[in-house]
């Protein structure tokens, strides 16, 4: 195997390191956004209903 091919292996190996880390971080971000959106929507929903019932305790998970 010549040196140039060897360098290709090295290059791909390094790429995989960055891709995996980047992929996981992006996946975390996507999930984070989705959770955030759902929390906000549910909070708004629950807040309205609570206003209707005049229950003033806006809740947070302990």
């Amino acid at each position: 195997m010549d040196e140039a091919t060897k360098f290709w292996y090295l290059f791909i190996a390094y790429d995989i390191v960055w891709l995996l880390i980047g992929g996981y971080v992006v996946w975390l971000g996507v999930r984070q956004n989705r959770i955030q959106r759902q929390i906000e929507r549910l909070r708004a929903l629950l807040g309205e209903e609570e206003d209707d019932r005049a229950e003033g305790t806006a809740g947070r998970a302990s």
Partner: protein, 241 residues
């Protein structure tokens, strides 16, 4: 609803700082790996993947050790935060484990001519990957959150106890054949190689901290979301009655 407390703003500052630190360390290690470290005599330049391969394995073990401790802490105290820490650490560990498993063959191919050798450390890493992937699967398939946390904690303990036994058995299984790699641990490394290796370890430790920093608050939010969903469901039931 949430007012920024000192702790919160410190956490925010850390959250901004850590990714910068990780990037800086990674760039620094890249420099050390490619320009500072001596060229390996036998393997040549391809050996330079070592500085991002071996430290990943090291920190991956550390991550699973954290899972083990968090699992014990969860069963002892039943505080949800330990469950979240265990899960976050497992995910980070599995990521590092995947890096080891994918870069290993790409290094082995040009050097030994095969992608995979059933070498003790590589095989142990593969088994670890399987165990902790199973850990995440159990979490996925368990619906009740408390049950999920308890099952995961038991697996976090049992899985880690398995590690030394796996390593020992794989070593005896392959016989004591000469290790092709003499570069383990850093003891037998040349000075300049050691620098790059330590740089790699620092990078991955910072990355691990950074990922935990992202994942643990997310776990708390997941918990809040679950709680909100339960409330919404309860309210819907009350409304329809």
């Amino acid at each position: 609803m949430t007012r920024p407390s000192p702790a919160r703003s410190a956490a925010r500052a850390l959250r901004l700082l850590l990714p910068v630190a990780v990037t800086g360390l990674a760039v620094g290690t890249l420099y050390l790996a490619f320009f500072h470290a001596a060229r390996e005599r036998v393997m040549g330049d391809i050996q330079r993947i070592f500085y991002f391969h071996a430290p990943a394995g090291l920190v991956c073990f550390f991550a699973f050790f954290v899972t083990f401790l968090a699992s014990i802490a969860y069963l002892a105290t039943r505080r949800p935060v330990w469950d979240i820490v265990g899960r976050a650490s497992t995910e980070a560990g599995l990521l590092l484990c995947s890096i080891v498993l994918l870069t290993g063959p790409l290094w082995a191919r040009p050097v030994w001519g095969t992608y995979w050798t059933w070498e003790a450390r590589l095989t142990t890493t593969l088994v670890l990957w399987l165990i902790y992937a199973a850990y995440l699967m159990v979490r996925r398939y368990t619906d009740d959150p408390d049950q999920q946390a308890r099952f995961a904690a038991v697996l976090g303990i049992v899985g880690f106890l398995d590690v030394p036994i796996v390593y020992w058995s794989v070593r005896v299984w392959r016989g004591h054949h000469p290790l092709v790699l003499k570069v383990s641990g850093g003891g037998g490394l040349e000075q300049s190689m050691q620098h790059a290796f330590l740089g790699g370890v620092a990078t991955y430790v910072a990355l691990y901290a950074c990922l935990m920093m992202l994942r643990v608050p997310m776990g708390r939010q997941e918990e809040e979301l679950r709680w909100l969903r339960e409330r919404a469901a309860a309210m819907r039931d009350a409304g329809s009655r």
